[in-house]
Subunit: 179 residues, 4 copies
DNA sequence: CATGAATGAGGATTCATTCAT
DNA sequence: CATGAATGAATCCTCATTCAT
């Protein structure tokens, strides 16, 4: 339900579709928000697991990274709440802590491997890639890109190409210097 | 208020912060939605105007495009509702019609000029640029990028570099062929 | 305005149609209700005047009464607020005091004249006739009777015939006796 | 509540008097209007049922008709919203469709039976009787007739007598002729 | 004295959460 | 332990009335 309708779904709808009563729902999850976080945590765990495996099987680190982003794009396209909350990772200290705990290490690994192999633009960090993910998530939710999936793949391609080591120019950094 | 808190703000809050009563608000705008659309329309008009001028004064088309995106990024960073509704341009037929009417031609012009000058990756459309805008908008709203503005500029840089004519590989198109 | 739309009209509408500002309206009438009462009072005065004259010119008391009711019916058909408030005469002590003061004597006179001439069913009082007026008022306001005026005239005819001296049976009286 | 105060009662008042919260009310009835219509429908059903039975047990058609009107009068006296909405039957196409569906056939039957028995003034239609009902409804709501019930019975008596076959004169018809 | 913008209480409706059965 | 009816705070919008200009 969260995947389809986002975090706005009526809890009654959720209970009804789950085939249980409201009470049962609230016994297991004290709050709508906790339910959502739980659902998302499971999604992150599964995503992390799959991503880790895919990365392990893929010897080409560049391809590993782009495969990860391609997969992420499709996941976001099919999961409204994921998109809505994934962004929060960056904002709320606790937020979807799950995301930070589970997913970020995978991204960091991919970035490190790519840098080691020299297939990633210098200076790109895991944080940069995560931000691109947030950006892609928003794109994936647009009705237009749902009807014409090639649209979101074009955007992804542009981002991937922007990450190539072809671009040696430094990315902007904290202009106030190291403080 | 819309800029700061998005379209969810309580109308009472809006009225209070405007220093007026509910009635005054509703005298000027028949509906919360009309108020929002009015605010956004003004923003789009101003944005369009500025963008057009900037583009006219800038002889270098590539710089014109990146200046446009940089400006858009800052605008989105300071305007939650803008971000929320700009995306809708892609979904709701009517939606923020203002956006389509006012802003899209500017984008199309920029893209055309860049292509004519050969400074834009082949195949990139105005639609692609608009999608990047939506993506950037989401980024700009993150608390993290508000505290560390260089973060969003990094993302923008990656996107801009992905748009360079260096990348000659074709972008994905409707795989079902021309129908 | 009250005549056309009833007492629900927006005061702003009234002011606008009168070509004055709200302040002017409220200078003359401290309250919407006072305005309505004033308007109605004028109507009652005019009605009373006309009714008195008509009655004076008409030698046949029966015809005078039925002419009065016919006229009242048409007035009610064209005056929503009149209908809405005329009924209140019976309820609120002050209410449209104007009505009691201005119109009721006319009715009482007509009834007395009819009784004196023996053309009215025994026992019928001015109060009975006034109640019939209230009843007719409601009828006159129905859309159906506005489109087909003969409908309301049929109802009036039935009432008038019910008032004929043909009917000698006593009308119900306070069953608890004279207390 | 509707019976006592008419359709203007605050839903909160309704909920409070029902001893339930707002939510409970809205769980059962999606809209204030639906609630009203439901209440009225039940009333119409019950009314129809009773009226049909009374009519069936009464061999004298004239008495059946006057009993029906007497009963209607008392019902209206105790039900403000009934009065308010019953009139609408004549105006809004849908309106209290329930009324038309449930009650009108009963009235038509009564009228037909009376005509067959020759105890009803020639030309009187079910529509005429329904209009008299509307008229009586208004009367029944007056505070004066609530305090002195004989007042409304007098009005009813006058109407009933106006319906007697004694009155052979034709009732007004559409003056524009049969078109 | 005229204006009409401003006021704000009041009314219908929604939905996350609780609790008696 | 499961149920789902009940709760009521929160939200958008209307309109009679006031008051600064």
């Amino acid at each position: 339900m969260f995947a389809m309708h986002g975090e706005c779904v009526d809890v009654r709808e959720i209970a009804r579709c789950a085939g249980v009563g409201m009470g049962t729902l609230y016994r297991h999850f004290p709050t709508k928000d906790v339910l959502l976080e739980t659902v998302l945590h499971e999604d992150f765990v599964e995503w992390t697991h799959t991503a880790r495996q895919d990365a392990a099987f893929q010897n080409d680190p560049a391809e590993a990274l782009s495969a990860f982003l391609r997969d992420a794009l499709e996941r976001h396209a099919n999961h409204r709440a994921l998109v809505e909350r994934f962004a929060e990772t960056w904002d709320t200290p606790s937020g979807i802590a799950a995301c930070k705990r589970d997913l970020h290490p995978v991204i960091e690994d991919l970035v490190t491997r790519c840098h080691d192999a020299g297939v990633l633009r210098p200076g790109v960090t895991g944080e940069d890639v995560s931000l691109l993910l947030v950006a892609l998530g928003r794109i994936a939710q647009l009705g237009a890109t749902q009807e014409r999936p090639e649209l979101r793949q074009r955007t992804l391609q542009i981002m991937l190409d922007g990450l190539r080591p072809t671009h040696q120019s430094a990315l902007p950094t904290n202009s106030s210097g190291p403080d």
